[in-house]
Symmetry: C2
Subunit: 188 residues, 2 copies
């Protein structure tokens, strides 16, 4: 294709994951990552806005994908049904990636700066979901509440699924979490 390997971002991500596992996040410098991938520091920052960003390469398209799924969902669905269906659909796609996601999650959990970035990514997901709901004509005052509630369920379920010793499928965990929330809110 070009004179350079076309996968600079992927090579940087791979090198970063390896170094983060061995030396920790804060114990690894960007020049180390770049050199390990055969590139320069400047090129690292062309592909990632900052050092933390390299751990979230796989999340870039996620909000748009989920948003598109919501926008293209069947008619006659309520807001809550849309959110459930859209996030459940995304959960199915993740099912095959448990191991690499778990590896990454352990790195994120080890550093508060990374947890912070993870929360921002969750917020971006919530914004995409909220936007899609508005686009579908859902009652405007409810969109943000639905979107944020959905991403909370999604996030909690993802972690239960990752860390559960005997793990049921992610969609199953999510469905159970929705049921839990409904039970809790309806009262005794």
């Amino acid at each position: 294709m070009t004179r350079w390997s076309p996968d600079a971002a992927l090579r940087l991500e791979e090198a970063a994951l390896l170094l983060f596992e061995r030396q920790g996040f804060s114990g690894t410098t960007v020049p180390q990552i770049a050199q390990s991938a055969g590139l320069t520091t400047r090129t690292f920052f062309r592909h990632f806005v900052d050092k933390r960003d390299v751990l979230f390469l796989r999340d870039r398209e996620f909000p748009d994908v989920v948003g598109a799924a919501l926008t293209g969902a069947p008619e006659n669905l309520t807001g809550i049904e849309l959110v459930k269906a859209g996030l459940l659909n995304a959960a199915v796609e993740l099912e095959a990636w448990r191991e690499p996601i778990l590896t990454r999650q352990k790195i994120i959990a080890s550093d508060e700066q990374l947890r912070e970035r993870e929360l921002l990514k969750r917020e971006h997901l919530a914004e995409a979901v909220g936007k899609a709901l508005r686009h579908r004509g859902i009652n405007a005052g409810d969109c943000d509440l639905l979107a944020h509630t959905g991403t909370v369920i999604f996030d909690l379920s993802l972690k239960r699924w990752l860390y559960a010793p005997d793990s049921p499928s992610l969609p199953q965990v999510m469905t159970m979490a929705w049921a839990d929330l409904e039970r809790l809110l309806e009262g005794p």
Copy 2:
């Protein structure tokens, strides 16, 4: 008391807010803030872990206060009642501070790095709430779900209250948001 003004952190916060409003967050340097407060850069970083932290000085005790309120709440409350009551109680305390909170919120909204930190603070609140719920003997599997749902309601309500042209009280907004969520989850 001491040879120095005892309110170094407060003076730094005041100077920072002024500069952020005039020049923006990224357009202001830490040396500027420190000099404006009559202190050195090194002292700034003794009071705040990083540049962003100066905007969240008022939030430091908040999770612990809410957690203590939950721990000391009346007996015989369910998990959901505890969360509602605890956050409603916190909302009452905030009622008098609408203007300064709004000022700060506008700065936060202007910079993604600050929104990111805000999300981390929200997460700390959720952790404190979850911990208090566990301490109260609430069903362990429900605590995180309740805590995160509560903080989502709290956060959305706070922003509605801040930006509503005709603002009902924050507790009122929160109560309405809880009712909205219950209605949405119970379905038609």
